[in-house]
Symmetry: C2
Subunit: 462 residues, 2 copies
């Protein structure tokens, strides 16, 4: 009898509530900081967000309950691919000659190929309930746009996607995916918004950034007289909340595997939603003192928000259409080099995840493109799956930790979020295989200039 290497949950064990990390933070003495109005610098009240989001999502954004029920209309769609599988990477362990036991939660089984539909479906559902007819959003690598396009199609809502130009050009298949689900896709910066026009006038060759694309999408909604709502694929509390189905399932699956408390939980961070989705149900145990699990967030060396950014109040977008968020940031006008991990090209991070790093509950590491693709190809040769460039950042840390376990001769248990597959990222692999993958350097000067005039985050509670 062979040892099992895949741990499935049947559909009746799909989580029926999302997990909200906020009470755990507060109980651990970490006080969440409010977003501030960019003009008055006063805390933002929910009504200010009403032009952008339906009320249900705004209430989730400020929710203090630990559990929030998942409506049946969302579960019905989740069940197209959830619960997602948890695999033990036995062949990778063998290839690395490590005593570590490596598990990956695989979100690439979703129809859009990543974790993003977990929140896209929820956001489309609540918008449909609120009568929304059309949603505008931005997308980096195209994972988020694909997910929202699909979700909007399911609920009969129109969808407009501002796609970061670097990805629009690198990933035509992602554009076509969104168009197959009826979405309108526009490269950003675009001449269709004031924010886009301003960028194009200053930098006609701009390859775009998530910050710019967010400005454009927010502008579309804010200037629509209520006809269009806005949707964000990461960073905000309600987005991270929806992603916790990943970690809730993974906790059950790790128990099935006989590994209730992993030693190390790893993921990649752009805005932070996929990693928070896996990590938060586990980190609550650490915050409560029940475990000593280590958490490692990974990011690109070209956009090292957690490792080189400043913890400060900064705008979530480039043009100042959004509140100021308390987070690690490289400055809202920072435009990262066009690394293939387009989903990690964001100047900031989720506020709650930033707090966890600031308070030492999460480590952070930055990797260059060639390190990341080297890890990706090693994983593929062992496990078959070609990972998304974003997810491969986590795999680089997995390999480092598996090596460390071998050096320490310890049977450490490593859990990683394989947040998506790389089937839409093959051009990046072509570049890697043919030595055309530049290892962009981060320029600290670009950061300082951009966030010099921002108010520092207030001193932390606790």
């Amino acid at each position: 009898m062979m040892e099992p290497t895949r741990f499935d949950l049947s559909q009746d064990r799909l989580p029926t509530a999302w997990f909200n990390i906020m009470p755990s933070l507060v109980q651990a003495g970490i006080q969440p900081l409010p977003p501030l109005h960019p003009g008055t610098k006063e805390p933002v009240t929910p009504d200010l967000l009403a032009p952008l989001f339906p009320e249900a999502l705004i209430m989730q954004e400020v929710a203090t309950d630990e559990w929030i029920d998942i409506p049946g209309g969302i579960l019905d769609v989740y069940r197209l691919w959830r619960p997602s599988p948890l695999h033990r990477a036995v062949r990778l362990e063998q290839a690395l000659r490590t005593p570590a036991r490596i598990y990956y939660k695989y979100e690439g089984v979703s129809p859009a190929g990543s974790h993003k539909p977990n929140t896209a479906v929820a956001q489309a559902f609540y918008n449909k309930e609120a009568g929304t007819k059309r949603i505008a959003t931005e997308t980096g690598a195209g994972q988020w746009g694909s997910a929202l396009a699909m979700a909007c199609s399911f609920f009969g809502i129109g969808c407009q996607v501002l796609m970061v130009k670097a990805s629009y050009e690198q990933k035509p298949y992602r554009r076509i995916f969104m168009e197959t689900f009826g979405a309108e896709v526009i490269p950003s910066p675009s001449p269709t918004t004031q924010a886009g026009k301003a960028i194009l006038e200053a930098h006609p060759d701009s390859t775009g950034s998530l910050g710019i694309a967010i400005s454009e999408a927010v502008e579309v909604a804010a200037t629509s007289n209520g006809a269009v709502k806005y949707s964000l694929g990461s960073v905000l509390n309600h987005v991270l909340l929806h992603q916790t189905v990943i970690g809730l399932e993974a906790k059950e699956q790790m128990k099935l595997a006989g590994e209730s408390d992993p030693h190390i939980v790893i993921g990649c961070v752009g805005g932070g939603s996929s990693y928070a989705g896996l990590a938060y149900p586990f980190i609550a145990d650490r915050l409560a003192g029940r475990t000593q699990t280590r958490f490692i967030a990974t990011e690109p060396a070209a956009c090292p928000t957690l490792t080189k950014g400043r913890f400060a109040y900064d705008l979530a977008d480039a043009a100042g259409m959004t509140p100021l968020l308390p987070m690690y940031t490289l400055g809202h006008s920072f435009v990262p080099a066009p690394v293939h991990a387009g989903g990690l090209r964001y100047h900031g991070d989720s506020p709650s995840l930033s707090l966890l790093v600031k308070h030492g509950h999460m480590e952070a590491r930055a990797y260059t493109q060639s390190e990341v693709f080297d890890a990706a190809v090693r994983f593929a040769h062992a496990e078959g799956i070609i990972p998304a460039p974003e997810s491969a950042h986590g795999l680089k840390a997995v390999i480092e930790e598996a090596d460390a376990a071998r050096e320490a001769d310890e049977e450490r248990v490593i859990l990683v979020n394989l947040s998506g597959h790389g089937y839409f990222d093959m051009q990046a692999y072509d570049d890697y295989l043919n030595g055309r993958l530049p290892d962009f350097e981060f320029d600290p000067a670009a950061e300082d200039a951009a966030i010099a005039d921002l108010p520092d985050a207030p001193s932390l509670g606790g």
Copy 2:
């Protein structure tokens, strides 16, 4: 409590033997016909195949046992993605307003995105056991080449893929996928073989065909003095045998769903291996008189082997490197129009599947590209998954049968093989969405000219 829509098998229920249809055919009075030597027209003996295949595969090619054990080294790799899921397409049923219950077996969860690894892994394993260092093969859409590249990488075998030029140009991501697993990919017809050179001299603009690519790959192996073996992704008995894990799992899963005997089992046919893989464990029950399940094989109108071909002995390749096979064929020099379903651009069909059609146990239907992509997009809008163009042929038949069930007001149970996803086929969807998808017509004159000089198949047994 919601009704389940996904029926998982745990890893310990992965089939441990493949199902061989041959005894069922014989017991039903259908005598399999032997392949013939193209020169002597005498039945081919196993030793003639020895330069191309390892002995274990040749023995499977002529096996008469009903069950053939799957070695542990193959099961270890299958377990990376198998058992694959069976879904009930509830949202599609609702969209079609049909009383039919529609189930799809989803092979797109394999790392290469299709059913092809089921046999690629087996073939690589047996080659490794026999000491093979390098394998040459052809690929149409790239699904087969991707699967074999991955399988060869797992077992440390070199891999050379002759890729039909039409697909090579339409699907660069497929080429990169194979290269990521270390394979060498060459567009066919190529100047690297005599067969390729001859085609290029006669037709410099040839977009290639599976028949031509097979000639080239067989030539590479046959002229290698034993250094290179050959591997075929469909048509042959041993390939279909390996694919029966699909149907064996599906039978168990349909029982879990409470539907032991589906009314209709549907799939697409190029060489026939994915459809045989699903259908054969079910059709054995029909051959034995235990069920009256209907079987519908679907194919492109541009390459209508089963619906417009002739049942005759024909070469498996274009240049005459292979035995004559008894099958439905459009003639071995027939070059199908470059439809996006590259995996279905083959001039013949598996001999056993041809016999089942000839004897009336399987129906066959041909569809144009626009019909097929229309079905694909309807499926995607309901279930999320964007299907491979090949698989979408089956979905077109599903929709027809769901419509028929509505008209008859009958709760028919339909099972279809969703043999792969379309993430590497997005250019085809772009063409469809923008009205650039030609509905190629089949030219009967091309067929007659090509097979006029071939011996007819002997009269059928029974």
